[in-house]
Symmetry: C2
Subunit: 137 residues, 2 copies
DNA sequence: CTACGACTTCAAGTCAACTTTAAGTCAAGA
DNA sequence: TCTTGACTTAAAGTTGACTTGAAGTCGTAG
């Protein structure tokens, strides 16, 4: 596949694909003349990268998860830590989703005045309030 | 509470608190001389903002969710849409968490070669691969 | 053969979300 | 009174993740 095919199939712009390759997140299997040629599995890898972004990981963190030509070691302890971190995030988001759903139906003048909303949010916030990806590699 | 008290209690730097106030995300209840004075409920609000960030919303989107002095209307349809969006994100992250957990224990040479990992990631990616917050206000 | 369109590199530009810096205000303690 | 330290503003700087632009390289249709 050439870069435009990958872009079309994945929805990721060619410029981003070049950028990701430069960062070592994906790689082209070779060149036809001057043009990059990609293996079909790059699509899967891009899905994984997009997923990591949604999960709030930085490209560097994702690099550690999915592996990178430059930085080789993929440490299973780190994967477990990421999984745990993600689990905490999921709990927060679940409480937030419920809070949003309730807020949409609630008649309280302001969400912050609704005890149910506040309880859900308190639940979501419990155990650390800091932004995503607040832990180191 | 003065700004450093809020910073200490919330973990959010004073510079960020001023920035959030400028954006209308939080507000000080008044001034003592030149210094801001905050009501205790700002802590709760900051928790909600942090939560929104974890959920992948931009400050502008969060502004729509939690309300803003400048932009008043908080539309319940929008809240439901955000809840739905969040639900999709939660499903993805759950699959990713399971994938990471499995990858940590799996003996396959590379994650991408492990069928279980790939299935979980495929599950996570199904129904749209694009990054977070890809929908408009 | 030459012009076109799709690729290439490399450098610079953009954007959101902050952070830092410089210069100033003020209450309180020595 | 003078100094110190925590606040203030406004503007400039930083970072991560891309995007855009300029200048160049190809394969191929006319």
């Amino acid at each position: 596949m050439d870069i435009s095919e990958v872009a079309k199939r994945s929805g990721v712009p060619a410029s981003t694909l070049r950028y990701y390759e430069e960062k070592g997140l994906i790689r082209s299997i070779g060149r036809q003349g001057i043009r990059r040629v990609f293996n079909a599995n790059v699509i899967e890898r891009l899905a994984l990268i997009a997923l990591g972004r949604v999960a709030g990981f930085s490209l560097d963190e994702i690099s550690n998860i999915v592996g990178n030509e430059k930085k080789p070691t993929i440490d299973s302890d780190m994967l477990l830590r990421k999984a745990t971190e993600l689990d905490r995030t999921i709990q927060k988001l679940t409480a937030m989703r419920d809070g949003l759903q309730h807020a949409a139906a609630c008649t309280a003048p302001s969400h912050m005045e609704c005890p149910r909303f506040r309880r859900l949010m308190g639940l979501a916030a419990s155990g650390g309030i800091k932004g995503a990806s607040s832990n180191k590699l």
